[in-house]
Subunit: 394 residues, 2 copies
């Protein structure tokens, strides 16, 4: 059993700096974390337990399990009720205002924690952490760049896995294998309980427009009523498209990359709509600069869609997703969300997945998705891969 | 886009009967559900929205998405705040006591719902639903039986996928593919946010004893600090075992099946411990009768372990899991949990995964896991597969 030490690295200090800033803006002096994504963000590894963060002192790590984690800032506990006494021993005054992950933890968990700490005034640590995590550190950017390279490498092998008369599920299974062999961890972290998905979505033909309960741009009906999203088991017929939007988590961070292939040739209208999606992306690559309101990105996209009279086909037809992209990092759905109502302003080193997609009735989905870093001169693409619709049968 | 109708089937009425019984025991007159597992249990499909259940009237389904669900009991809503008015239109009095899923929904969600309904007296719908779901209907048993057959069929192909000098991750990837080709949906539903896993665990050699933050009997250290569970990338060397405990979800329900293979031959001590695990299972198959306290199953197992002086190796060595099994169904971790502290009494048609496992230092994990139905004459195995340790290289 190998021991793991948690220490106050410069990377951890960078991240804590972001958290302190957002805590201050929310007027929260102390914060207690236990959501896996937030634990991973601060500690660089997932454990079961809690991290206590307060301005003016080092963070403290309260670990329930595993039992091989050590370090000067680490305390092993059996339950959260043990934390206040340990804080007192460290001369840390018990906070009267405590930020807890109210959007991530269950009602029962939050009730238990507020009782253990004797606080009535609870602030929203989920919101604080989402804001802190929205702008990535250079180390996080490097992890995301590594994801993009590996995800694109697996996608490049897609034409090789296609066989005539394959179903969309069979196709997806071979693609899952390629991603996993490339190093994909096989797990999506999402925010919110209702986002359920296996290793991604493969959307062939009209299934791309089947309504889904989940927050996906084009969801697909799925193969079973218990998991109504993605591939539905249909044979991939000539004249249709297949849109691939699979898991890009190779290291705890994840890129989001969507590409489309055609089965044989598809109508010119589909290729034209695909080109409009590319036009949207290339325009946003120039226009998305630090200081620009995120809502403006949505407006720019919609202006292009309207100029081509394609509103009815954009982001689904039976259900229109009212967004064109989202932040991505440890979780698939991070801040900012690119909607007309967003109040966020673009900042350097935000990482955005932008996904203009159209549904072409009788053909399938077209469009694409890249993951980008916001830089002073526009968007830097982290998921470089051919953008054209290629015929998968060639 | 195909429409889906939700109607009051006899199966739904069976399940509602179980829920009414548990509501009555908890003195809760009304219940509002929105957790995906509970939605699936009642409606037979996952949607985003709410189900309102009260004694004396039909359940009402409030669907946010997808938009293709219809039926006399179905109402489309945009948000939960619209529900009370619709209840009033149906002549349903707003409850002063409301059971909500406090263990499953976030603090923010519960706060929002209690405000929308104007209730202060909140009861635990999570607990009610877990108790209701603990005893399966004949239809649920049939789904679980179908899972067991398919999971065993995929496991039977395991010797075929092994290649010399394979890593545990490479082995797992090929096994994931076999399971998916057999129809596995590729998704685990678990209760509680902290259970993160991809498609299961493959534990080779000493990695079987690596501590993990998650609630697994033998967890494994994993290949990345963001997902510290399961295979860790080691080459599967001769003289070790590989324990396979992969996803058995083929239809929204899931069986739990664990088997062990050896890479070449392993020491007699490993085979002896494996036989003790089989002795535990076969004893419990006879002793686990309706009316027997669940805690007694744990005692019976521990008596056998002690008789062989194997306490130090049972259910892990670096971390001992204080349980030997659990209910299984829509979620991987249902009631009852087989621990010394369980207060549950066995009932016919409970479905239990029982998993006596040992860790043999220098060799790996041995033992096995079957999913059983409780019957009047003992346990009926739903996961019939060879129990011996087979040499995977033969």
């Amino acid at each position: 059993m190998s021991a793991v030490e948690i220490t106050l690295t410069s990377e951890m200090q960078n991240r804590l700096g972001r958290i302190y800033e957002k805590m201050s803006e929310a007027d929260a002096h102390a914060l207690l974390l236990s959501d896996n994504s937030n634990i991973y963000y601060v500690a660089g590894r997932v454990f079961r337990g809690y991290i206590f963060i307060a301005a003016g002192c080092d963070p403290l790590f309260f670990v329930i399990s595993p039992n091989n984690i050590s370090g000067a800032l680490v305390h092993n506990v059996r339950k959260p009720e043990m934390i206040p006494d340990i804080l007192a021993e460290h001369g840390v005054a018990l906070p009267s205002v405590l930020a807890l992950e109210v959007d991530d933890l269950s009602y029962s968990d939050i009730t238990r924690l507020s009782k253990a700490f004797g606080v009535d005034d609870i602030r929203n640590a989920s919101a604080i952490m989402k804001e802190a995590r929205a702008v990535k550190t250079p180390h996080e950017i490097n992890l995301l760049k590594a994801d993009g390279v590996r995800q694109a490498a697996a996608y490049a092998r897609i034409p090789r896995i296609y066989k005539e008369d394959m179903t969309d599920v069979e196709f997806q299974i071979e693609l899952e294998r390629e991603l996993r062999l490339e190093g994909c961890l096989g797990y999506y972290r999402t925010s919110g309980r209702s986002m359920e998905i296996n290793l991604g979505t493969v959307l062939n033909g009209d299934n791309a427009d089947a309504p889904t309960p989940y927050d996906f741009a084009l969801g697909g009906g799925g193969a079973d009523p218990s998991l109504p999203v993605g591939a539905d088991g249909r044979t991939m017929l000539p004249g249709t498209t297949v849109m691939v939007d699979m898991c890009g988590n190779f290291n705890g961070y994840q890129t989001d990359l969507t590409r489309v292939w055609s089965i044989g040739s598809v109508p010119a209208s589909a290729l034209e709509m695909h080109d409009v999606a590319r036009e949207i992306l290339h325009t946003l690559e120039r226009e998305a600069l630090p200081g620009v309101p995120v809502a403006r990105l949505y407006e720019i996209a919609m202006d292009i869609v309207r100029a081509h009279n394609l509103e009815d086909y954009f982001m689904g037809r039976s259900q229109h997703a009212p967004f064109i992209g989202h932040g991505v990092g440890i979780q698939l759905n991070e801040l900012p969300v690119i909607t007309p109502r967003s109040r966020h302003i673009l900042q350097e080193n935000m990482v955005l997945a932008i996904e203009p997609k159209f549904f072409v009735p009788g053909v399938g989905a077209v469009g694409l998705e890249n993951t980008y870093r916001v830089t002073a001169s526009g968007l830097e693409c982290l998921t470089v891969a051919p953008e054209e619709i290629q015929d998968i049968t060639q």
